[in-house]
C-alpha cells in the first residue's frame, strides 16, 4: 500500500476515535460512539495488515486468537460491579504491549547505532508501558480484594520510590550511551517494580482516579511507541488517550473534592473526605446533569 494512502486511512481511523470519544460524553449517543471508535480500530488494524512490509502470520494469528478469546471471555463474564477493575486490567495489558513492541524493536536495532532521540523514546516507552502494566494490575488486585484495599504504607516509602526512579534514570543514561540490551532490560525491570510501589499506598476508594491516570499513561506509552516505529495512528490515538485520561482523572478528583496530588501522595483512608449527615446517614452529592441521567434511565421513580 502506498504510504500516502496509508496515512490518510490512519487519519480516518483517528477521526473515528475522536467522534467516538466525543459521543461517549452523552448517555444518548454513547453506545453508538463506542461502536464508531471500534470501527476506527478495525480500520487501523486492516490498514496495518495490508501496509506492513512483512508480517509473521503464524505469530500474529496465535497471539490474536488467544488475546481475543481472553478479552472476550473476561469482558462478557465480569459482573457490572467489578467493571472498574476489569478496565484497569485491560489497560495494563495495553501498557505491556507497548513496552514489548519497543523491546522487540530494540532487539532489531541492537548493534546498529540508533539516533539519540530514538533510543530515548524507546526507553520512555518501556518505562511508561511497564509502570502502566504493574500499576494497573495492583489497581485490579486492590479492587478485586486480592490485595488490601486500604493504603499499604511503610517508612521511607517516598524515598524508596525516588531512589528507584533515580535508578531508572541512571540505567537509561547507560542504555543510551552503550545501546546494549542489559541496561535497557534493567530499566524495564525497575519500572515494573516502580509501578507496583506507586499504586500500593493509594486507597481503594481512590482507585478510579488512579485507573484514569494509568489509562492516560498507556496512551502516552502508545504514542511513544508510535514515535519509535514512526506510525501516525499510534501517535494520534496515544495522544488522544493521554490527554483525555488526564482531564478525566482531574474531573474525577473534582467530583470527590480532592486534589490529584492528595490522591496520589496522600495515602488517605478509604473514607476520608466523605461528608456525613446528622443521624449517621450517607450523603450522596450529585450534579444537575447526573440527576437528569439518573431520572431518565431509572426503572422506577419514587416521588
Amino acid at each position: 500500500m502506498n504510504a500516502n494512502v496509508e496515512a490518510i486511512l490512519y487519519l480516518i481511523a483517528a477521526i473515528a476515535f475522536i467522534i467516538g470519544l466525543k459521543r461517549l460524553g452523552s448517555p444518548r449517543t454513547a453506545r453508538r460512539g463506542n461502536m464508531i471508535s471500534g470501527a476506527g480500530m478495525a480500520l487501523a488494524v486492516v490498514v496495518t495488515l495490508v501496509a506492513a512490509d512483512r508480517v509473521s502470520w503464524a505469530v500474529l494469528a496465535a497471539g490474536a486468537i488467544i488475546g481475543s478469546l481472553i478479552g472476550a471471555v473476561l469482558a462478557l463474564r465480569v459482573k457490572m460491579t467489578a467493571m472498574p477493575q476489569m478496565v484497569a486490567a485491560f489497560n495494563g495489558f495495553g501498557g505491556l504491549a507497548s513496552a514489548l513492541v519497543v523491546g522487540a524493536e530494540f532487539l532489531k536495532t541492537e548493534g546498529r547505532l540508533v539516533p539519540v532521540e530514538v533510543i530515548l523514546t524507546m526507553i520512555l516507552s518501556v518505562f511508561i508501558g511497564a509502570v502502566t502494566f504493574t500499576g494497573s494490575m495492583v489497581a485490579y488486585a486492590k479492587l478485586q480484594g486480592l490485595l488490601s484495599g486500604s493504603p499499604i504504607t511503610y517508612a521511607g516509602q517516598k524515598i524508596a520510590n525516588a531512589l528507584l526512579f533515580a535508578g531508572i534514570l541512571g540505567f537509561a543514561v547507560w542504555a543510551q550511551a552503550t545501546q546494549q540490551s542489559l541496561p535497557f532490560l534493567v530499566v524495564g525491570l525497575i519500572s515494573l517494580g516502580l509501578g507496583v510501589l506507586v499504586v500500593i499506598p493509594i486507597g481503594g476508594a481512590d482507585m478510579p482516579v488512579v485507573i484514569a491516570l494509568l489509562n492516560s499513561l498507556s496512551g502516552m506509552a502508545a504514542a511513544a511507541t508510535g514515535f519509535v516505529i514512526d506510525n501516525s495512528a499510534l501517535v494520534i490515538a496515544g495522544a488522544l488517550v493521554g490527554a483525555s485520561g488526564i482531564i478525566l482523572s482531574l474531573l474525577m478528583c473534582e467530583a470527590m473534592n480532592r486534589s490529584i496530588a492528595n490522591v496520589l501522595f496522600g495515602a488517605f483512608g478509604a473514607t476520608a473526605g466523605q461528608p456525613s449527615a446528622p443521624g449517621g446517614g450517607d450523603v450522596h452529592t450529585t450534579t444537575p446533569d447526573d440527576l437528569a441521567i439518573a431520572l431518565t434511565y431509572a426503572a422506577r421513580r419514587v416521588p
Partner: protein, 99 residues
C-alpha cells in the same frame, strides 16, 4: 520539509489538545464508561504489535511480538466489549408513569 520526528511532535501536540477539549464537561455518571472507552482506544498499540511480528531472525523478538499481540488484543476486544456492556445499562426503560 521538517524532519519526520518534528511532524510527529506537531501531530502529537495537536492531538493532545483535541483530547483535552473532548472531555471538557462530562457528567460523573459517564466517567467510568468514558474511561473504559478511551482505554479501548489505547489498544491502538495492536498496530505496533502487528508490525513487530515482522522482525526477522530473532526468537526473543518473536516472543515479545507474540505476547504483545495477545496483550493488545485483550485490551482491544475486552475494552470495547466491556464499554458496550456498561453503556447497555443506559437503555431507556419502558415504565408506567404513576405521576
Amino acid at each position: 520539509m521538517p524532519a519526520p520526528v518534528i511532524i510527529g511532535i506537531v501531530v502529537f501536540v495537536l492531538a493532545s489538545f483535541v483530547g483535552f477539549e473532548l472531555i471538557a464537561k462530562v457528567p460523573p455518571t459517564l466517567h467510568t464508561p468514558l474511561m473504559s472507552g478511551s482505554n479501548a482506544v489505547s489498544g491502538i498499540t495492536i498496530v505496533g504489535a502487528i508490525v513487530a511480528t515482522g522482525i526477522e531472525n530473532d526468537t526473543l523478538a518473536a516472543v515479545f511480538a507474540f505476547v504483545a499481540v495477545a496483550a493488545a488484543m485483550i485490551n482491544v476486544v475486552g475494552g470495547y466489549l466491556v464499554t458496550d456492556r456498561m453503556l447497555g445499562m443506559f437503555r431507556r426503560p419502558k415504565r408506567e408513569e404513576s405521576e
